[in-house]
Symmetry: C2
């Protein structure tokens, strides 16, 4: 009997690598999907996606180029005129918030799920221990899941968020437990060679490793 | 005092031209947005968009290229291996349904609304007198409107669908009443020079003109 397929949105970071590994453990064949959206670290993230997809033995990989995010701008990841903040995490929605990025990603993923007859979408969003992006909340995911099932030809697509309530330390621990190769993941917002260690994404990642009592295998600027 | 801005999704057809004209009459400054998505009549629709935007005196125009729809395929508008049906409108969702197209368009429109500080999105979806696409229903629009306000940084964006319950005859009548230049619009799914008159979109358009007792100003194949 053929397994059901799950479409996994894989950015190349730890969270999406673990979420996709969980999909595999849940018994799905993996359709690995990645979005190039003109972000600063596009090449490094794509490289991580390829390694993670290989680690997962994904049956199908699909890379989508979204050049228009550069036109949208108004955020530090796709607009080169806005610096990535490196002074620490503050309350509120940070300038690294790319407007409605996950909404756009999930909408395209929904169309691809129809193409590939996938029954579930896995996405590694984290609500509490994160940068505070509004499109990473359980409320948002549930709401867009309803909208997608109304707007699609099929109406039984389920968006799964197995990491939504985990801390970054939980994510590090579970990744090691599930055998995710964290050396293949990339989180830094700024750099593609050695991680900066100072942007919000590096800080969250390093905090997770520290709290889990583990050493991050990727290279940081000394 | 500056007027509020409305972002109008304008395909180049009658419906979106009228919806955008209504936005203008409602007192908004118009941000005219068009999506090239690899559909068969991409060039002709873009040409219509430019004319309609000029007719509206749109303050901002924004064209988004979405090449990935060609990769999604599984529909007759973006997959050249699937013929556009010309034998008449049937019940059910037709093969011209592009998976989650309006969901994807509205998601990108939401991000652009944040960029341009628009308070409303106008879209010319029609529920009853239409091709039966699931992403053209009031239920879907209300649902994605909620999702967008949860996922965006702002939470007061309103998606307006002034045509949702109109018939095609109503749309023809109102377009003439509002002074929409219907000669600048394009509906045919198949052709870019003279409309085929046989695809679902041509049939719906011609039925609207017939029921309204008016003559369609665009050219059809004899």
């Amino acid at each position: 009997m053929n397994k059901s397929r799950a479409l996994c949105v894989i950015s190349g970071g730890m969270d999406s690598a673990l979420a996709a590994k969980m999909a595999k453990n849940d018994g799905y064949d993996i359709v690995a999907v990645h979005f190039n959206y003109g972000q600063r670290t596009e090449n490094r993230e794509l490289d991580s996606f390829k390694k993670i997809s290989k680690d997962l033995d994904a049956k199908i990989t699909h890379v989508v180029d979204l050049d228009f995010f550069k036109q949208i701008g108004v955020n530090a990841l796709t607009d080169d005129s806005i610096d990535v903040p490196i002074t620490g995490i503050n309350p509120g929605v940070p300038i690294t918030y790319v407007p409605y990025r996950n909404g756009i990603f999930l909408s395209i993923a929904a169309a691809l799920a129809q193409k590939y007859s996938a029954k579930a979408i896995y996405i590694g969003v984290v609500e509490e221990d994160s940068s505070g992006y509004p499109d990473c909340t359980k409320g948002f995911i549930d709401s867009i899941n309803s909208a997608i099932n109304l707007g699609l030809n099929d109406n039984d697509l389920e968006i799964k968020t197995p990491l939504i309530h985990l801390s970054k330390a939980d994510i590090v621990r579970k990744s090691l437990q599930y055998g995710v190769k964290l050396e293949h993941t990339w989180s830094c917002y700024k750099n593609e060679e050695s991680a900066c260690g100072l942007c919000d994404s590096c800080r969250l990642r390093l905090k997770g490793f520290k709290e889990a009592g583990k050493k991050d295998p990727i290279a940081y600027i000394a």
